[in-house]
Symmetry: C2
Subunit: 326 residues, 2 copies
């Protein structure tokens, strides 16, 4: 199946088969998921047993709107990935342009639905596209785009998709607070799982005008997200103290990782507080060397020198990473 | 939004606004969800924090295949509803026929994607459709169709969708064990949440041939279901003892509900062990009378006499229901 064959981080089990060691032995740094998750509160049985009600969904939407400082329409979906899967169905297939290199699911999802997809390398080259996709900050190189400039770009494209999956620690980059009263052809995507370290819950949000929100809701159906996801997210999205402390810790830990990588002779390509991408002499060899230490990383078929690392969590994991890179 | 406006069970919060009383006061019998859920085991933190791996998904598929006694390809999705949402995208829109009256999401999802949808009242009238939908056993009238006869129907339609959301207590009705080596144009849908009483987890399955499975996987994306759903379902789908005891209890409790309804002067239209539909002189009045007792039920716009009730769970809930109907 095409989806199965696509290249992803997070595919630790394949690495385990090759290098041995069970889940408890490995440190998975192949994703950009915060390794110190929001503490899952006790979940009421109802979160598991009952269909989420409209009231549950409304409360989730409200929590996201406050957290993201947005008065746009909020559509909860089963992960930012679910928004990516829905986007190709929002308009008749035409010419899509993706600002790249970037997360490969955008191109894959659009292409699978009959869009002609081209990768462009500057925001200016997006003008004229029927659908334009920008990841801000970008994965894996950390490129950052001024949200006001992106907003202005909306008038030059059919549909503008801004994937803000990694923006939480850098809220000043987000277009979400500017989406009030248009433009109506913009979708901002937010991931819940990455910043809150709870990717298993499968939750993300689309922020948009009313018309796109209605079509996304039709595509998603009445119960797109789980009860546990709703209950955990309502707590997490409202926990300003945890968010502030987490952003500060992620910034410190990103600097710590950069220092280890520099010592190993690598240079920083770019990144966000949730992941760092380094230029290495041979990324495949570096990945293999880390895997010998049961540390899993991410390489990119289009950039043979690039290695991406997420942050380690526990002190023990940092020590192992330091030793492996030393 | 269209989805929000559609008529569903499970919408207890609207009833609460009208009649007062919080969630703890109400007995929600408006759905066909087993009120005695599979006991949620302790969940490892990884279920919440990590993206499900291919290995996790493969194990879930294997557990479903064994439980459903099927060698077809299994595609896990975020609820049977997610399969319903995907079906319209599996073929170019054409003439769809739905054997009805039945669960309204099939017609709604197909219609929203440009299919012309007609409701027909006999299986024979499905022949010639580009897409034919049968719910077996049917919701809400409990009509049952011979799976071998449905299998034969596949050669007379473009795509045959068999929604088996309520078939778990009646496995002899399932087409799943017959899907080996074709026909290739059949999708069997299974719900996890209803029989296991865990609708909040959002999990369902499509059983099909390889080609449809590949297209469903493309539509669903790489991480369509949550870690908690995978972990709970792997345990529940393999628990034969719980399944056997639950099927027996549901049968007993369905008979118990029928006895109460008969005493109230209603007659059985039909049902499954998970819900019962009764003919009443005035279903809206009956629903209102039950709501005064904080018991929520389901009525149907197309059948003003029909009232559907799910089963009560605790003895206390049965006593309250008995008093309300008495």
């Amino acid at each position: 199946m095409q989806t199965e064959a696509r290249d992803h981080g997070g595919n630790l089990d394949a690495a385990m088969r090759r290098h041995g060691g069970d889940m408890t032995r490995w440190i998975d740094l192949s994703t950009g998921i915060n390794p110190v998750p929001y503490p899952v509160p006790h979940l009421e049985p109802r979160a598991f047993t009952a269909l989420p009600t409209r009231g549950d969904m409304e409360a989730l939407r409200a929590a996201a709107a406050v957290c993201y400082d947005s008065r746009a329409h909020v559509t909860p979906m089963a992960g930012a990935q679910a928004v990516i899967q829905a986007v190709p169905h929002l308009a008749r297939p035409g010419d899509a342009r993706v600002l790249g290199p970037t997360y490969n699911e955008h191109t894959a999802a659009l292409g699978a639905c009959g869009w002609r997809v081209a990768e462009v390398t500057t925001p200016e080259a997006l003008a004229g596209a029927d659908c334009a996709v920008v990841v801000n900050p970008n994965n894996p190189d950390g490129a950052r785009y001024d949200p006001a400039r992106l907003r202005a770009l909306a008038s030059q494209v059919g549909l503008l998709v801004v994937d803000e999956s990694f923006v939480d620690p850098d809220p000043e980059l987000s277009l979400a607070p500017m989406l009030h009263r248009g433009p109506e052809n913009v979708i901002v995507m937010r991931s819940f799982g990455k910043f809150y370290g709870l990717a298993g819950l499968r939750l993300g949000f689309a922020l948009s005008g009313a018309e796109i929100a209605a079509r996304l809701a039709d595509l998603a159906g009445p119960w797109p997200v789980s009860g546990p996801a709703i209950e955990v997210a309502r707590a997490a999205l409202g926990d300003r103290d945890w968010q502030r402390e987490t952003s500060a810790r992620l910034a410190r830990d990103a600097a710590r990782l950069d220092a280890l990588a520099l010592r190993a002779g690598w240079s920083l390509v770019g990144g966000t507080p949730l992941f760092r991408t380094y230029a290495t002499p041979d990324a495949a060899a570096a990945q293999e060397a880390l895997a010998q230490h049961h540390i899993w990383s991410r390489v990119f078929p289009y950039a043979p020198g690039w290695l991406r690392l997420g942050l380690a969590g526990s002190q023990d994991d940092w020590d192992r990473l330091s030793a492996a890179l030393g």
